[in-house]
């Protein structure tokens, strides 16, 4: 069966971003960009399913500017078979991303679509669920285990109270959580091979998707900064401060 994997280009998780001085946007000039960590987990899961013989083809899709090709190439180096870039310089909100993915899913007819549960820039945690609504597919969000069965997939989900397992009819959507797997590193030969794998480019217009934003960011600002406090020399001093200064324990 075929799997579609969404991979997003984001500011690397090690970078601490800051708002621009005029508060209009986040300053992302000259910062390191990477594949969203949750999307890397999504690619890895697809590759493992292929290694098990469950999956025959993995298609990696990204939406955004031309540079998203880099993240698609990363996915190809990790084991995806081909890539699709939905190229646009417009601001893409999750509803628009989900609509583009729906258009691609209609063409490609995958049995499984794997996405990250959340991207570490927008932190929205929406796209997979919205794709579910648009396609009518079931959704296994925040997955820590995925078992493909005959005509269905069993997904164990990380929920607030612990773990929940659901069974979904195929085709279905899975969004990855941190414990699903530990992604491999791409080997140099695979990085070289990835350069020759097919990568098609399309656009929201070609897919017939209106990406006009529904929300406007009026401003961005740093959060209230916490002041570093004091170092205490002993457990006794700590207890004294917590009782008499902070008054948080009796």
């Amino acid at each position: 069966m075929k799997v579609l994997v969404a991979v997003k280009r984001v500011v690397d998780f090690n970078v601490k971003v800051r708002p621009k001085a005029d508060g209009s946007d986040v300053d992302t000039a000259n910062v390191k960009m990477s594949i969203n960590p949750f999307c890397e987990i999504a690619v890895e899961e697809a590759v493992r399913l292929k290694e098990k013989g469950v999956v025959s083809e993995i298609v990696a899709v990204s939406m955004g500017p031309k540079q998203c090709q880099e993240q698609i190439r990363t996915a190809l180096a990790l084991g995806a078979d081909r890539g699709i870039l939905v190229e646009t310089d417009a601001e893409l909100q999750p509803l628009a991303v989900a609509k583009c993915l729906k258009a691609i899913a209609d063409k490609e007819e995958p049995q499984l679509v794997i996405l990250g549960k959340q991207s570490i820039d927008g932190d929205n945690n929406q796209t997979g669920q919205m794709l579910g609504a648009l396609t009518g597919m079931g959704q296994g969000t925040f997955a820590s285990e995925v078992v493909v069965e005959d005509g269905s997939v069993k997904v164990t989900r990380e929920v607030d109270g612990g773990l929940q397992t659901v069974s979904l009819k195929l085709p279905a959507i899975v969004t990855t959580d941190l414990r699903l797997n530990e992604p491999r590193y791409a080997s140099l030969p695979n990085i070289m091979k990835a350069k020759k794998k097919p990568l098609d480019t399309t656009s929201p217009e070609e897919l017939g998707v209106d990406v006009t934003p529904r929300t406007t960011t009026l401003k961005v600002e740093p959060p209230a900064e916490r002041q570093a406090g004091v170092k205490v020399a002993s457990v006794d001093e700590l207890l004294e401060k917590l009782k008499n200064e902070a008054k948080v324990i009796q």
Partner: protein, 309 residues
Amino acid sequence: MSILVIAEHDNAEIKGATLNTVAAAKAIGGDIHILVAGAECGAAAEAAARIDGVAKVLVADNAGYEHQLAENVAKLVADLGGDYSHILAPATTTGKNMLPRVAALLDVQPISDILAVESADTFKRPIYAGNVIATVQSSDTTKVITVRTTAFDAAVAEGGSAAVETVDIAEDAGVSSFVGEELAVSDRPELTSAKVVISGGRGMQNGDNFEMLYKLADKLGAAVGASRAAVDAGFVPNDMQVGQTGKIVAPDLYIAVGISGAIQHLAGMKDSKVIVAINKDEEAPIFSVADYGLVADLFDAVPELETKL
């Protein structure tokens, strides 16, 4: 304006997160209705009717809603929700799973995890692991929103007497089913609503050593959390993870033990009132947000703290 709040409940009781969400609805202003979708959920619906400030409770009692399967509940909410100005749910795993699905059914771009209400269409929300706060304005007719519960003081659970109305819609998308669950059982308070939270990180070395933190927690009436590193290493289960991609907590007192203070961890706890860090590395970034830092070996400091309390 009228606002539909999706209740978080276990069919018998309303969860605290619902009260914070009602508080956010009050901040927006308008008639507040609560939807209790579940199975044999009459008791939860009655409890919802007693929440202060609620005008009406809608109950959809059907086997298909028992486990809050998003495919079914989202259809129900979309059936009911189109005429509301706002649809709100707490940003819990249940709310985050279901509400974007509702939004897409209504062709709305949802707004996740709001921290503050600026006006009926403008909200503040954290992005980039809370390193940036964005003010966003929605142009959709119905605003679909998840609420960061720690950012809104709970509405009063008693005193209201809302009318309870039965909704006779049985949605079954037919694409998903519940198989089972493994829920953590604990006598300690819930992580996201506890007044005191003690979290352990990789410095704890193994799961057995968390016993020290449980003992300390029991003396303080605290909940116990963990860093991602401690969860990934298998010391403790996933429901204990605090951070950008785990749970958000804002207790009166947060004690970080053997945690370095990565931005992803800070994102989940830096709104705590008082932060204590115990770490043997005096350069650890956690000290830059700690009100009280103790540079010490946790294997000495934690037992000493416990005996002296």
